[in-house]
Symmetry: C2
Subunit: 272 residues, 2 copies
C-alpha cells in the first residue's frame, strides 16, 4: 500500500476514502470522486506529500470539470489571499455579514491601557464581538497559544467596548491555543473548527462566498483585493469596475470563470 507524508512530517498509509470524501464535499458526484481518487492513487509515487496528492487530483479534475477544481482547491485559495492579513479580514467580514452580523473593519479602539487595532467589529443581537483575524499563507502553519493570549489580552484592554473576543483563522489552532481560548470564553473560528456549521469551511460552503483567489484565470488578485473585491459575487456584481482594473479582455475571462464556478456550486448544492 502506498504511503503519504503529511505537512508535519508524519507518514501515513494512503487513504483513498479520505480523498473521495474531500472531493464529494467539494461537489463531485460519488462516481467521479471514486474514479479521480483511483487515478490519483495509481499516479502518485510512494511517499508523496499531501500537497502532491492534492495537485494530482486537481490536474485530473481540471480537465473533467474546471469549476469543480476551483471549489476543491478552496483551502489553498484562502491562503492565496495573503501575503498581508487585510484581504482575509475583509473576506471574513463579508462572510459574517452574510450570516447576519453587522461589521466594521480596522477600528482603532481606545483601550484602558493603549489604543488597540481591532481587525473586525461584529455585532449581532446586541452582542458585540472583537474579532482578531489571523491569516497564514503557508501550509502546516497553525495559530498558536501566543496569538490566542494576545488576542485575549487585547480584549481585556478594550472590554468596555466589546462583550466577547473572537479569534478567526484560516488554518488550525494548536491544541493549547484551542484549550486556552475555550477556557477564557473566546469564540474560535478556524478552518474546520467548531465542527458543524460554524467552521470557516462550512461558513464558506453555506454562504457561497468563494474568494477571488479561487479563480484559475486570475493571475494576480491584489488589484481586486485592494478595491475590496474579495469574493466571486463581488466580481459578478461589479463587472464594470473590473474592466478598469484588469482590462476589458481579462475581466471578461475572469467574470466568465466566476459565473461558471458559482453555477457549479449551486448545482452541487441542489444535489446535496
Amino acid at each position: 500500500m502506498k504511503t503519504v507524508v503529511k505537512a508535519d512530517g508524519r507518514v501515513e498509509p494512503f487513504d483513498r476514502g479520505k480523498l473521495v470524501r474531500s472531493l464529494v464535499r467539494a461537489g463531485a458526484s460519488r462516481s467521479l470522486a471514486e474514479s479521480v481518487a483511483a487515478r490519483v492513487e495509481a499516479e502518485v509515487p510512494d511517499g508523496a506529500s499531501t500537497e502532491e496528492i492534492l495537485s494530482a487530483a486537481l490536474r485530473i479534475l481540471e480537465r473533467v470539470d474546471p469549476a469543480l477544481a476551483a471549489l476543491y482547491d478552496l483551502k489553498r485559495a484562502i491562503m492565496r489571499l495573503g501575503p498581508t492579513g487585510f484581504p482575509f479580514e475583509r473576506y471574513f467580514a463579508k462572510i459574517l455579514e452574510a450570516v447576519g452580523y453587522r461589521t466594521r473593519l480596522n477600528l482603532v479602539v481606545r483601550g484602558r491601557c493603549v489604543d488597540q487595532e481591532v481587525d473586525v467589529t461584529a455585532e449581532r443581537r446586541g452582542v458585540r464581538f472583537m474579532v482578531e483575524c489571523k491569516h497564514h499563507d503557508e501550509r502546516g502553519a497553525r495559530t498558536d497559544l501566543k496569538v490566542a493570549m494576545y488576542t485575549y489580552a487585547r480584549f481585556l484592554d478594550v472590554r468596555g467596548e466589546y462583550d466577547r473576543p473572537w479569534l478567526a483563522t484560516n488554518t488550525a489552532l494548536t491544541p493549547a491555543a484551542l484549550r486556552y481560548s475555550r477556557c477564557v470564553g473566546m469564540r474560535v473560528t478556524s478552518w474546520l473548527y467548531p465542527p458543524g456549521r460554524w467552521s470557516l469551511a462550512s461558513l464558506i460552503e453555506r454562504t457561497g462566498l468563494l474568494p477571488v483567489t479561487t479563480l484559475r484565470s486570475l493571475r494576480d488578485p491584489s488589484p481586486l483585493v485592494r478595491e475590496g473585491l474579495v469574493t466571486l459575487l463581488d466580481l459578478v456584481e461589479q463587472g464594470g469596475r473590473l474592466a478598469d482594473l484588469l482590462g476589458e479582455r481579462d475581466s471578461e475571462v475572469v467574470v466568465g470563470e466566476a459565473r461558471s464556478v458559482l453555477a457549479r456550486l449551486r448545482r452541487s448544492r441542489r444535489r446535496a
Copy 2:
C-alpha cells in the same frame, strides 16, 4: 556637518558628543574617547549608518585597547547570544542571581487554562516574578505590544503561582508595549529601561557579568552556551571544562582574553 542614518531609517546630524559618552560609558578615558570620536567623524562617509559608525569606533579601539573594544561592543555581544532565546534566558537569570534573586529556569507551570512555559522564575523578599525573556538578534528589532500582551495573559493564567509579571528584553520596547506594560503593572527590563540602575545595560555594568560573546577570540559561542557557560566569569572559573569543549590551545586564548577584559572592566570601574 555629517549626517547619520539610524536603524529605523531616520536621518540625524552626526553627534560627536553622543559617541564620546558611549565610549566613556564603556570605560574609555575622556581624552581617549574624544580622540576616537574625532577620528571616527573624519573617517566615516556622510550618511553612514549607526552600525558603520560603531564599527569604525571599534576598529580604532581594538588597536589601542582591545579589552575596551570588547566592552564597547556589549549590545551587539548580547545579540550574538542568539539565535535561540535560551542563552539569553540563562544569562539574564545569572544577572538576577547576582543582584539577589533566587531563580529557576524553564519551568512548565500549570495555569488555570493550559500548561505555560515560564522562561525564568525569580523570587526576592517573598515576591515571585514570572519573567518572560524576549531576545532579538537583529538591530532595530523592538519588543512589541503583542509580546507585552501575551506575557501579561500568560501571567493571568498562572496567577496563583506568581505575584507579578516581568518582561525582559535585550532591545527596546515599542512605546505602546511600554505604556501597556506599565498600565497593567508589569515590570520591564530592556536595554536602557528603566533609566538608572535597573536597565539591562546598567545591570551588566554593575554585576560585571559580561556575556561570553564579548570575546573576539571566540568564534562560535554555541558549545559553551549549551554547557551553561554564558558569562566571562564562568569561563575564568571553569577553565578545565573549557579545554574539553574548545581544545587546550583555543581555551587558553579564550580564558586569557576573558581575564584581560574583566581586568579592564575593574580598572574602568575603579576610575569611575
